[in-house]
Amino acid sequence: MNGQSLLEVNDLRISFSSHAGEVQAVRGVSFDLRRGETLAIVGESGSGKSVTAKSIMRLLPEANTRIKGGEILLEEEDILKLSDKRMQDIRGPKIAMVFQDPMTSLDPTMRIGSQIAESLKVHLGLSTQRARERAVELLTLVGIPHPEQRIKQYPHQFSGGMRQRVVIAIALACDPQILIADEPTTALDVTIQAQILELLRELQERLGMSTILITHDLGVVASTAHRIAVMYGGMIVETGTVREIFYSPQMPYTWGLLASIPLPTADRSQELVPIPGTPPDAIDPPKGCPFAARCPYAMRICEEEMPGYTTFSDEHRAACWLHHQMAPHVEPPVRVGDAK
């Protein structure tokens, strides 16, 4: 993993207009993605992670989406300012996406082969014959047996796990530099989950792609990601390498996340602790740290002011008032054993 940034997101702010008011989904998110790495963005529903991911490909519904600020830089160009035409050239060949629910992400009235071939014809100008051959290659790549027969079939003739493989094949069709996987395994059975994750990891290594993996499940992340960004309430509260996040997490929300996953090597006496409470109201977000209302270590300043980032290493930073010199020292409650 070399230190070159492929994608840079700077201070992204996105809101939606709705009946009840302005929903502030993303409130100042910054991160970068490097060549060849897998960055996991972890957070619960409502944290803004999906919105962030979709905004990179500008797939948010136009009618009520407002980009309030920030930039997304891909090779020096700001994606947020590109024309539709330019965006179409980017989707597919440069950035591609794998969606969450394989049961609904494929067009039920179109054959699998055609759905894969679509982007091949549009972006690479392949002939029908050549596109068909390439589709077979792609299906083989993602591990679907008998691809020559399969390309003539319809989505309802595939199982959930198979469909997700097809979605991955579609995403890989034009050799994208960046793959965004939005909760790719959430809708699948546990055994299939492992297969798909393994497939993604393999593909990423072989093809040298960079991947952004969106998930709410830290457990999924451990074996597949290089770096992790933890999101809460529309903001990133901690980022770091996988080792740093698992072994020396610095923010109470991260502690909470780690405590609520069953790690096989964790101390047996440790109980599973779910984080009590519910996410903050996106229409009227709290003025201080978004996690303050549910944080067992919250101090008065947490409710009043937003903490800035404290840097712990080249890759590791977290935003929490506990790091302030005047704050009491707190011992993180969860010690992850030699998990990896």
Binding site: H19, G28, G277, A292, R294, M299, R300, A319, H324
Partner: protein, 312 residues
Amino acid sequence: METSNRQITFTPDLFEPVQRSSEDAERITGAPIGFWGDAWRRLKSNRLAITAGGIIILILVLALAGPWLTPYTPYGQVLDRQYQTPSLSGFWFGTDEFGRSMFDRVWVGTRVSLYIAALATAMDIGVGMTYGAISAYYGGKLDNVMQRFVEILVGIPILVVAVLIMLVLKPGILSLSIAIGATGWTSTARLIRGQVLRLKEQEFFLASRSLGAGTYRLIAKHLIPNVFYIVIIALMYTVPTAVFFEAFLSFIGLGIQPPNASLGALINDGAHQMRFYPYLLIFPAAVLVLITINFRLLGDGLRDALDPKMRK
């Protein structure tokens, strides 16, 4: 996350832990309002629906009180003032071939039409709701049979049913209401049945049942309130359909007969004399269209407001 640019003076008391009981964390942010309160709030913000509601109320008021606003009556002929064109100083809506004030006739007609629509809707919803609820609640064979019956009824065009009924019963308010109500109840029955079936599956119902709640309690406390809001929305669509149907039947001669007035009868008269006296058609037609549009708009607004999935 960036710290705000203004200078924060850090004092030790800011770093004291916040006193909080364990319940606080579970408290949901945002004041909880009841289902109806939330819905009302959403409805109020929908300006189109509110305007529609206002217009409907205006029409209702005029239908009841309209004729009292003028010194004239809807009936009785005064031939020497026939066919007066509408004017602000004279007859607001003009007069017809018998010299009767159109303003009075239109509002009396509206009253009749709305009354018929109300009766028909009451029958429609009464029968439909009962039928659908029973069918869905008891399920099984009874449901099958009842649904088979409805399937057959639905295949009969409503026009045919209405025509047949009207031919046999003498045209009048009651017969019209029966004819219109008899044609519409099947869709209400289906709607209610769908909703009850859905409710039966829902967790709160199963939970209540497993706690030993009796049939009566289940129906009264759980089914009816949840079905209620669907009925209200359905109402907003059945009323204009009933008004339309009454007008249609009167237009083809099966409805209210002269000298009685209803919107349909007035439109029929107006259509025949439209060549020379278009105002005879325009006023009752305008009222009919206004009723239809505004009930629909209000219905759409209510549906948006009461849809529980959109609850914030």
